[in-house]
Symmetry: C2
Subunit: 192 residues, 2 copies
DNA sequence: TTTTAGTACTAGACACTGTCAAGTATGAAT
DNA sequence: ATTCATACTTGACAGTGTCTAGTACTAAAA
């Protein structure tokens, strides 16, 4: 591959990292291999991200930003839609999703830019849940409901991506339909 | 540390791996460091497990066996209890749980002994859900409900262990209480 | 009793990794 | 013309998983 000019390399490294993360998982990422594929020295990527964790921080930042957007767009369509949006984001951005919640790869709290996006995404989710519950709900109840909703979406996404769901359930003929069903079960509870 | 005799080394390596996994995550595990701590050569652990993935397979096998036991004991107390059991297992066996669902570390399907335990654990969960639903439920509905229940438990466990739940919710004063609340919300839906 | 076979290791080497340190070319600002 | 930051390159280091080969010890088979 021909050498890459300027900070376009940043994008190349990021895309390569995302592809590897989506296929083999983020732990399979090697800075040196990426550099080789990009036709640059093994230290060139290092220059753009500081270290390995820096790459994962950049991926997390991008991921949280896009997750936030996805949740924001689904917001007006209710809890079912929001849960679906969360899972669909995860499935369509495996590379990001696999990194975002792995704080051994990079502690998002140490990267202000990434933290802003993470906070935004979660605010959107929590705001919506609070709105749905109405103001007669106690703080404790709101927390539990928010945790509950987040858990369903996150658990389903995780199990679909890395988990044994497919094998154990004997093949999922239509993933989207299953996601919709689960999301509807969730919103049933939240309206009760 | 004094050298370890015989296949007691197997247990030493496993315990060391579990401790590291519970603290810094499974990716921080170094066979060589474990060997050094055990006072043996860097190839001694290798002999017991074949390779790095072999260690994670052994951890998965043990983890699924214990998860199965936990689910089995909680079975008679209904869906709420089962969901709680799942989450509590995860919290009390971080070292195992972090490994069990990481099929980039080891593909459980390739390790028959581990697979048996995994299948058993999931059978217990699915059987219980099917029983709760009764026989007037369609297969599709049963699958969705099982997936749903599994997702809540798994998502909550994942978020509590590695996720930003604690930060985002402004500190969880009583984790057990939160788990119970969420589990109850889940069983509300499953009984409907 | 000697031989064989298997277990539980040790010792050395290899390719590969992330990272540190120091140097180089280029382009803009002073 | 000089300074200075950016975007790299090259070289080295310690650490890693894994392959290969060898060594004690133990217990059964000849």
């Amino acid at each position: 591959m021909a050498p890459v000019k300027s900070d376009a390399l940043r994008r190349v490294v990021l895309d390569a990292a995302l592809a590897i993360s989506a296929n083999a998982g983020p732990d399979a990422l090697s800075l040196r291999e990426v550099a080789r594929e990009a036709g640059v020295s093994h230290q060139a990527p290092y220059h753009h991200f500081g270290d390995r964790a820096g790459i994962f921080a950049a991926i997390s930042e991008e991921g949280y930003a896009e997750l936030g957007d996805a949740l924001l767009h689904s917001r007006t369509h209710g809890a079912t839609s929001m849960c679906e949006a969360y899972v669909h984001f995860a499935l369509q951005h495996k590379g990001h999703f696999r990194v975002m919640f792995r704080n051994d790869l990079c502690n998002v709290g140490n990267y202000p830019d990434a933290l802003v996006q993470a906070d935004r995404a979660f605010s959107i989710l929590l705001d919506e849940v609070t709105t749905l519950l109405g103001k007669d709900a106690s703080l404790n109840e709101a927390k539990a409901q928010a945790t509950y909703m987040w858990s369903v979406a996150h658990g389903l996404a995780t199990l679909l991506i890395d988990g044994p769901l497919e094998k154990k359930l004997g093949g999922i003929e239509d993933v989207n339909a299953l996601v919709k069903q689960v999301a509807q079960l969730t919103s049933t509870t939240i309206h009760a």
